[in-house]
Amino acid sequence: MESLPIVRLQGVTKRFDDVCAVDSLDLDIYQGEFLTLLGPSGCGKTTVLRLIAGLETLSAGEISMNGSRLNGTPPNKRNVNTVFQSYALFPHMTVFENIAFGLRLKQSDKQAIRHQVSEALDLVKLSGLENRRPHQLSGGQQQRVAMARAIVNKPQVLLLDEPLSALDYRLRQEMEIELKRVHRQLGITFVFVTHDQEEAISMSDRIAVMNEGRVEQIGTPIKIYEEPENMFVARFVGEINVFDGHVVNVNNGSAVVDIHGQLFPVQNRKKAGTGDKVRVLLRPEDIQVTRDADKNGGPALSGKVDEVIYKGKTVDLVISLDAGETINVTQFFNEDQEDLVYGEGERVHVDWLYGWEVIL
């Protein structure tokens, strides 16, 4: 990541009438990475993509590519291509003509065009469907044609606007793997927009979590999931349990937090001081459940099991704590623990291993 960014967004702002869709956003996109813009609908992620493509004009700020300013460059002069959410395949053209569209605008060597189109079709595994029309293809096939039509132009950056959202669950998973493979094979930069956090986590090199036109956090999927920097990221990506507490003691890199009268040692990444109010965040799978309080010897919160949801490889518990909160816990089966199956209404104690929490 020390290399220069291929695309750099500086203070990028886009207003539609009075609504600010993108709010002075800074973002560096590096050569060859798979960057995902993740956020709820209306967070401005698609607008960012369209700004990079040149399909929207900036209200303020600057977008540069390979160090030169792109402001005002029309989309047909930018070395980026887009895979649209609606695919936007040309209905009056065959698969071949759709994919060859961009090539035919730039070169006239028919043989070379045919060769490149068939290469692109191979890459998306659609060989043999050259003469079909878009309406004769399934959703997944149309998706692949849209991919081929974009990558055949060998763009430096491929922009993907929720390309999988119209596919059913199975096909989406298949296409996730396909997309990763294509990314690896081409080695070009992918900027992928999605509202689906699972998609983002499983595919990306880096994720930029967006909310209300701003980037809330940018980092690797592991960073985003395990060390959210704020409540928005914590809540949007995955499930999270939040405990309110206050710091009673600070010692080197750790602190002791009082949660409902129980004193939990935590890692003090936030550098909170004594007396500060903090929130302790825990993923459902990071919480331990025990039947007796003293088994682990440390602090624990007591409560009772409200619901037991068996999911095959995990059991999800909904536990209402005596202090009032309701928390979600995910437990993984393993062979030497047979007593994971709790009954509804059963009294339990919960705690976690030091360092597995995040404090905000």
Partner: protein, 287 residues
Amino acid sequence: MVSKSGFRNVSIGSTLLWITVFVVVPYLFVLVFSFFQRDPEQIVAAVFTWQNYKDIFSPVFLVVCWNSLILALGTTVITLLVAYPFAFFLGRIPERIRRILLLLMIIPFWTSSLIRTYALIILFKANGIVNGLLLSLKLVDEPLAILYTQTSVFIGLVYTLLPFMILPIYSSIQKLDLRLIEAARDLGATSGHIFLRIVLPLTLPGIIAGSTMVFLPALGLFYIPDLLGGARSMLIGNFIKNQFLTTGNWPLGSAASVILTLIMCLFLYVYFLSSRKARTSGMGEMA
């Protein structure tokens, strides 16, 4: 269910009855008359003959046919050139203004087109409004001879038939998915490419429909060339009208009508073929 199918039967039945009484039956008369002999006393004499068709294929009538085709074709081309940009504009402006423009376009329909053609005479005659304006603006020194020329016939036909071209094109432009234009731009297309390779092919069904709806009436509209072209332009429509109303040669007029109908059927067949091709070679709506 009973009342529903009853309504269906009544509505379809009454339309069929109407068409039968006022279209099919008169047309059968025309067809039959075209094979009868002329009779000064009783209009027609029920004696079979091919003579009318032999008379029709005279050089005079062929010239009339040729002129009519050229005029109809010219009218179609001009209306297309005028209507396409307007329809494009209409499909892209805010709903509120669009409704007003559509209304303005349709209001003249509520007046008889014959009356509107007379209004054109008032505009174009030597001491009419257009010439008055041109003279007072010193753009011309003497009144332009517009009326009773080919030009005024074109203007009249284009004016009358323009909405029939605008509406089908407008409807196909409205259906055009703007995201396709964005995709084409993203793939490197300039505005010219986008028009030729995306917009034009996808609005072709509207162009074909509009052209048919202008071309076919332009072949048969007799009163516009009559009123605006004076005695100079003899077209199929005028020829037929003259046979029936002036010379009283009903069998010859009938034969000309049959020929005109055959020409129209031929063009409708071409339209059918081309619109079917335009539809199967595109229009994802079918999927």
